[in-house]
Amino acid sequence: MPRNKVVWRRAVFVVLIIASLAILTVSFRETESGPVHAIQQAGLSVLSPLQTWGARAAEPFQDGYQWIRTIWSAHQRAEELQAELQALQGEAVKLKEQAEENQRLKSLLDLKEKGTFPEGTDFEVARVTGKSPTRWEAWVQIDKGSADGIRVDLPVVGATPVAGESLAGKGLVGKVVAVTAHTAQVQLITDSESSVAAKIQGPRAEGIVEGSVSGRLIMDYVDRDLAVEPKLVIVTSGFGGIYPAAIPIGVVANVGEEDVNIYKEIEVAPFIDFRVLEEVMVLILPAEEVSVGGQPAAE
């Protein structure tokens, strides 16, 4: 490259730098009415109509662009909200489950506080972890065992969602029939092998509440001469040595009498809905309450 051209180039560059710095310096030093500001104002007055016109012209395009952006962001937002909704639904289900569990445990606590259990009775709340797979037998497995003080023939009570302030939903579940260190099997009162000494509040009629394969609960051996009306409450009588007295079982649903039968056959509607049983409470009775001569009492 020719030397004079290089010099010329450098000279122009230096001039431009000096001009820029000079303009900048003057721009800062002079007042608002100075020449540089006047030039800037004049230039701006030329450009500002362009800017105004540009703003007007660009408005529809900007609106369109914003519209597309809004749609895109709305789409993204919808996806985010969908994910959030799913998470919240999961959370809501979890909370509902916890609320229902709390309600059931509260019912069990209520049963514990209001029930008339023998002196010295301990209570162990257990979660139902399994159920009998066939209708031939009716039992549930719970997550507490001998390590928690559970032993065979201890009575088990429970509370199901229909529980309110009344006895409905709270009542006798059955008894422990098998125990391991950390689990136990509870025979339900609806099991065909189950029998519970009971009495009907009001006429004080006594009998045996038995389960059946069909799941129906029948109170048998009730004296025919005693008047029994539907809706009367049936509770444990305390006879037999396993179940303490006054544990609610259910209400009289239907009273049947056959000429050939010397006893009434009463259909019992249990307080517990065994289909939705999730927690139970094992009554850990003092040892003398449950054993007769060191052996579990038969009931």
Binding site: L16, I17, S20, G54
Partner: protein, 179 residues
Amino acid sequence: MSKKGLFTVGKVTLVLVVAVLLQILLVSRISVLGVTADLFLILTVVIAVSRGSLEGAIFGFVAGLVADISYLGPLGVRALIYVLTGYFVGMFVSRFMVTGPWGVLMLAGASSFVAQFVFGLFQFIIGPRAAFFTVVGTQMLPGAVLDGLVAVPIYVGLVRLRLIPASHLEPSPSVGGGE
């Protein structure tokens, strides 16, 4: 000045006028990731690549003044920055033989970042003490990327329209050329 020289000045002036119009009417209204492209700077780089450091510096000076007027900034700041940009980009191209769209992309991106950095420093010194490095991340880097990307089609378009040559370098460049 020869007729050819006047014609060249006319073409570059036309480019500048169109750039002003485009910047005011269109480009300043299109924001990508919160930043807008700076056509004045991009064209300064493109002119410096295609015509050399002298033309780049002159174009940068005029474009910088127009930008200062348009943006109501202190008059002379952008002029100074763009003069330096145009001159050093032209020098860089001459010395390292950088041409073509990729070269324009890299040079425009780098120049944009440096120019924004210097302008940011200036604002930081005279203005409020803003979070300078936050601006580097949120404004300068995206702005540099955008300017680099926008520079390529502008360069290719202007070359195709024969408003600027592809490069001011000699057809048989000598290694380590320049001044």
